[in-house]
Amino acid sequence: MTQSEPIFRMEGVTHRYGDLTALDDIDFVAEDNSYIALLGPSGSGKTCLLRVIAGFEKPDKGRIWFQGRDITDLPAHERGIGFVFQNFALFPHLTIFENVAFGLRNGAVKVSETDIADRVTDAIDMVGLTGLEDRSPDQISGGQKQRVALARSLVLQPKLVLLDEPLGALDANLRERMQIELRAIRERLDVTFLHVTGSETEALAMGDKVAVLDQGQIVQYGTPDAIYDSPAISDVALFLNRFNLFNGELQGDTFVGPFGTVPVTAAQPNKSDVYAIRYDRTRIFSADAVDLPGPALPVRYLASEYLGSSIVFLFETKDRKTVEVDHHLSLGEPRDLTVGENYTLSWDPAQAIVFGKETAR
């Protein structure tokens, strides 16, 4: 991964729909030639952000630069930024070939017929659709439509392509294959992909960097490892869907939660006091175990879910909060649990992340 000059930059971008603030003073930088995943729950403003970047909507405040040029006031067709829609938005009245040729044929720069034929053929070849040129969009599958939409953008050799939940309309099987292919296609070209998704696994798997968007703000921006290992705030930990989060109270050097009082060495600034421990770092002990590695959380066993490479165990605390434990099968056979029985969960306190309102530390 080469990280160089930022190809794209936005400063203080704010966008409102009536009373609703969809984007709240966003600063964001995208490096040249990289894959950036933009992760956010629905309603976080992620689609709005893409639409503002594409020029479909004008921000109320803030400036946007692309390739060193201020594009805030440029209309969409003069920006040179590709866009891949979740519903593909292929032109239903044109063949696959003409769909891909559309931008070359109708753009501001005149391209000769032979150049069009060459470039379109190359683009269709790159996405692996050779032979389907004369089909119409209703004669191809969802995955193929996705590739046409991609080829249609890439044939114009943009430096930035925005992908709005591009895998959302595909079934799970195809989604994984397209994940790999999207990355492979991007690596062959000198282009930055900005991929919006609501799926944390997709974001972590695909992005060289991941930006987490919440309530119109980018709350964390970093490599997938960094985000996975140290979520900046408790909401990020919540989206990642890999942490047990406990509300409690941070009092100086200790955190008081449902597992008792635990010493704390460091805390991240946050809206509220939250104690987070990853599913796969939470361990199961019998109810009367004494040699625990850390805090003791009394729970009742509910159910388990077999995921192939791991098993997820679901427990319930006294105040009916569900706690998950992810046991990877490479670590050996899991212990036998009886539904309805009481157990104790524990973990190494050094692996927990504590978020606190007190930011003094």
Binding site: H77, F88, F91, P92, F102, G103, P137, L156
Partner: protein, 283 residues
């Protein structure tokens, strides 16, 4: 079962309804084959003949019945209907396109446009002629004042048809086109227009047929030279002969021909619309 009673009743009702709908035309059609020139516009048929059709085209020996003075009126009405169709459809598409963005005052403008088809035709016609004669001070003609009155009348129909079409239109194909560096004007020509073409056809058909047999507005607004409906009405006031019926059959056949063209064009573009719909389903 309820349907055992209800179904036959409904069937009879529908049959009567259709008979009522086409009854006048069937009577007209039969009477147009009356013997000529003695036969009148009533039953019984003395003997079947195509005399009145020949009479229409001036192929019969001269008789006391003058040929229908419809030649020029027909041309005028066709030209007027064509002008109205083009103007109303262009305006309708543009106005409906404007309504996709909820501009300020959109609600009021909507009602003001639709009012054009609500106001009684005689009033519009009279108003137009008064406006032309007394206020602006221009002569009335079928191609000026009557044309305006026709556009005012047919534009709301074209507008409503286009509004319905554009309401269902998925704007993301347009955005996709912009993001491919294609200007909004070219996008409209190459993407939007081909996809809304079935609607445009319907709007054109509406405007043409409404204008072609428009009577009350034209009566006052058209001035000296008459359009077809006025010319036919003019012949009624003297004496009615089956040549009018023959003419009616001819114009109806013409309308059917027009509808067939419309049907064929529609069938071709419905294939597109289906593709469009399939794409929307995925979204």
């Amino acid at each position: 079962m309820e349907s055992k009673v209800l179904k036959p009743i409904l069937a009879v009702y529908v049959g009567l309804f259709i008979l009522f709908l086409y009854g006048p035309f069937i009577v007209l059609g039969i009477l147009s084959f009356q013997q000529g020139p003695e036969g009148g516009p009533q039953f019984p048929i003395i003997s079947w003949s195509t005399y009145w059709y020949q009479h229409l085209f001036g192929l019969t020996p001269p008789s006391r019945i003058a040929p229908l003075p419809v030649g020029e009126a027909l041309i005028r009405s066709l030209v007027l209907a064509f002008m109205t169709m083009v103007t109303a459809t262009v305006l309708g598409v543009m106005a409906a396109q404007a309504f996709r963005k909820r501009f300020r005052g959109a609600g009021i403008v909507f009602y003001l446009i639709v009012l054009g088809m609500m106001v009684p035709g005689v009033l519009t016609g009279l108003g137009t002629s008064l406006l032309a004669n007394n206020v602006v001070g221009i002569e009335r003609h079928w191609w000026s004042t009557a044309f305006l009155a026709h556009v005012v009348y047919t534009f709301p129909f074209a507008f409503l048809v286009m509004l319905a079409i554009l309401n269902r239109f998925d704007g993301s194909v347009e955005e996709a086109s912009w993001s491919l560096g294609v200007s909004p004007i070219t996008t409209f020509r190459k993407v939007t227009f081909p996809l809304i073409f079935p609607g445009v056809l319907s709007a054109m058909l509406f405007a043409f047929t409404l204008s072609f047999d428009e009577f009350p507005r034209t009566l006052f607004a058209s001035g000296r030279d008459q359009t077809l409906p006025l010319a036919i009405y003019g012949t009624f006031s003297v004496e009615i002969h089956p040549n009018i019926f023959a003419f009616g059959v001819m114009t109806t056949l013409f309308s059917f021909a027009l509808l067939s063209v419309y049907g064929i064009l529609m069938a071709l573009s419905v294939r597109r619309a289906k593709k469009m719909a399939m794409q929307e389903d995925i979204a």
